[in-house]
């Protein structure tokens, strides 16, 4: 296989707060290839967004990347000086955020913002930059892009605003786009439109995409590979079909069984007891231990990330579908 567009190894991002060290990301590793979609799934506080911010070098104090490497096409981003970082951010790696109202400047017209983004990385004339901005808007399906360039962010609807954010991410033809819950605030029909744009983008331009979400169903439709995060760590990683059809980590399985549409109507959902632990004082050993039905004494020590033929699972007692079939049959 060719070199990965992005390879993250043993990434640790910790926040040094008054209440103690919050290990928001604690030993995360994955890789994404050109034209592929990696889904990063987890509930609130699982560290999925901080992982995204870390890749872009956007972690603010008291947070700090304390260990690990972030290799973009073989080049370690962690060794870069701030000025070098700026040549990467928005150029080779772009990010799409959950709330486009917060990422677009409300007092500048769309064209001003887009031309600025182009000219920050490329020595081109304003008219060329404007041309590129227009093309990017057209590519994400904004009707009459020429007129819309002169509009302000508040003149767009939520879905259109998110398209503008995607268009800005596309401007410099990045190698990698990180999308952090970009459709969570949108309606179902608008979400489908945005997902369609994202798919088209990967197919046509070979951009690698990291899609951060809490919605397993979106991942099922969009991603090629998936990483499930819990309490700052990846607990399971594999292709979408493997992970969703035969989850091996008890947490992944619990999550899948909690999603209503898979279950029969009116029947109580299988639920995961308890709630996500505080990251300030995680329980000893496996962070999921206290909510897990398979936990034993062994789980009091830290489970390593086992590699089971291309699949990774951080559990001493992974679920094997065959075993269960034998046990019940």
């Amino acid at each position: 296989m060719t070199e990965a567009t992005l390879k993250v190894e043993n990434l640790r991002t910790h926040f040094f707060t008054r209440h103690g060290v919050v290990k928001a990301v604690d030993g995360v590793g994955f890789e994404v290839h050109a034209g592929r979609v990696l889904g990063l799934v987890g509930e609130s506080g699982s560290g999925k967004s901080v992982t995204g911010f870390s890749i872009l070098g956007l972690v603010d104090p008291p947070g700090r990347i304390v260990a690990g490497s972030i290799l973009l096409k073989g080049r370690d981003l962690r060794t870069l000086a701030p000025a070098q970082w700026r040549t990467i951010r928005g150029n080779r790696i772009a990010m799409i955020f959950q709330d486009p109202l917060m990422t677009l400047n409300p007092v500048l017209r769309i064209d001003t913002q887009m031309i600025e983004a182009v000219r920050a990385h490329d020595r081109v004339s304003v008219s060329t930059a404007r041309e590129r901005a227009r093309d990017a808007l057209a590519r994400v399906g904004i009707p009459s892009p020429d007129e819309r360039l002169a509009a302000y962010p508040h003149q767009f609807s939520g879905g259109m605003r998110q398209r503008v954010a995607i268009a800005i991410a596309l401007l410099n033809k990045p190698d990698l786009i990180i999308a952090d819950e970009p459709t969570t605030a949108l309606d179902v029909t608008i979400q489908a439109q945005i997902l369609a744009e994202a798919q088209k983008l990967c197919r046509e331009s070979g951009t690698a995409l990291i899609w951060i979400t809490h919605d397993l169903a979106v991942i099922a439709g969009l991603a090629d590979e998936v990483c499930v995060m819990y309490a700052g760590r990846i607990v399971e990683r594999g292709t979408v079909d493997e992970v969703l059809d035969a989850p091996m980590h008890p947490y992944t399985r619990g999550l899948l069984e909690s999603v209503p549409s898979r279950n029969r109507r009116g029947v109580p959902l299988a639920q995961i007891p308890g709630m996500t632990p505080s990251l300030v004082n995680l329980p000893l050993g496996c962070a999921f231990r206290e909510r897990c039905s398979r936990a034993t004494e062994t789980c009091l020590t830290d489970p390593p990330l086992y590699n089971l033929g291309g699949r990774y699972v951080r559990c001493f007692h992974p679920i094997h579908v065959q075993d269960e079939a034998e046990a019940s049959g």
Binding site: G159, I190, Q193, A196, L222, D241, V259, R265, Q271, I272
Partner: protein, 355 residues
Amino acid sequence: MSADQAPLLELRGVSKRFVKSLDTAARLANLFGADARDQVVHAVDGVDLAIRQGEVVGLVGESGCGKSTLGRLAVGLHAPTEGRRFWRGEDVATLTPEARRRTQLAIQMIFQDPYASLNPRMRVQDIVGEAPVVHGLVGKDAQRDYVASLLERVGLDASLMRRFPHQFSGGQRARIGIARALAVKPDFLVCDEAVAALDVSIQAQVLNLFIRLREELGLTYLFISHDLGVVQHLSDRVVIMYLGRVVETAPTEVLYAQPNHPYTQALLAEVPRIDARHRRFAAIEGEIPSPLAPPPGCHFHPRCPHAMPRCKIERPALREIAPERFSACHLNDVNDGNDPPPVAAAPDTEVANEA
């Protein structure tokens, strides 16, 4: 619907319009020949809804379709601009004040945001226990025990009742909101996006609580949500709204298996599902029009793949197309309503493989 028994709650032809009047500047401008008018939002436009005792009705729609306004009309938090509201067959507007007060207690609401809907300066004991004491359901001296029993019922530790809302997690706050609604012994709960703000694993816990409470207390729910999966799981019957109007209502299994209205079909086809892998998303065109200026005729016609000239002029009526099934679409006149519209695709066939 059995004719001998009146529905628990019925809304007949209710509309709710929100009017933004002109300010002084605009009125002055009008004197000089400008043509500024009041802005009118038809949040709910002529909706009939009957909910039987013990039924769970799911109300689905996208943002701005008026589903929350309809929920508030059902509870009585908004007075309808037009139309009437019946409780156990009696027009609420004609009830005596005493009977109306009892009706108000019998219908309770659970709000979307478990952070904003609890008073941050009140202890849980007062949040949950205030209403039953005020309404004389329990004495002041029995309040503590009463609150304790309610908290246990919704799965919270009763020893936490002296705490403030900020000391609880999102899922626990949702439970406090439910306990508060249950405190006045209601028959009917309107749940407005009650699980939307929760993580998947916590959402499952709260949904299970709703199912258990319904069995234990014989409650009736109007469950408002944009999440079709949640609604499918919980509801007996589903009502789909689009721009202030009901476009389709049917029993849950039928609606999900054979959606009739083109909007319902599009909605169901576009819901991401776990068993639909690597699908090619093909979204319906366009966006939800502004409720300030809804399109004439059928509100859905600008986005509808089957739109006919008639759809641009005439508003389709919500007609019974099969027992218990209602749909507002002119296509049902074309083919007698026996089949879903011709190009109807069941959601399963939408799972297009990349191959």
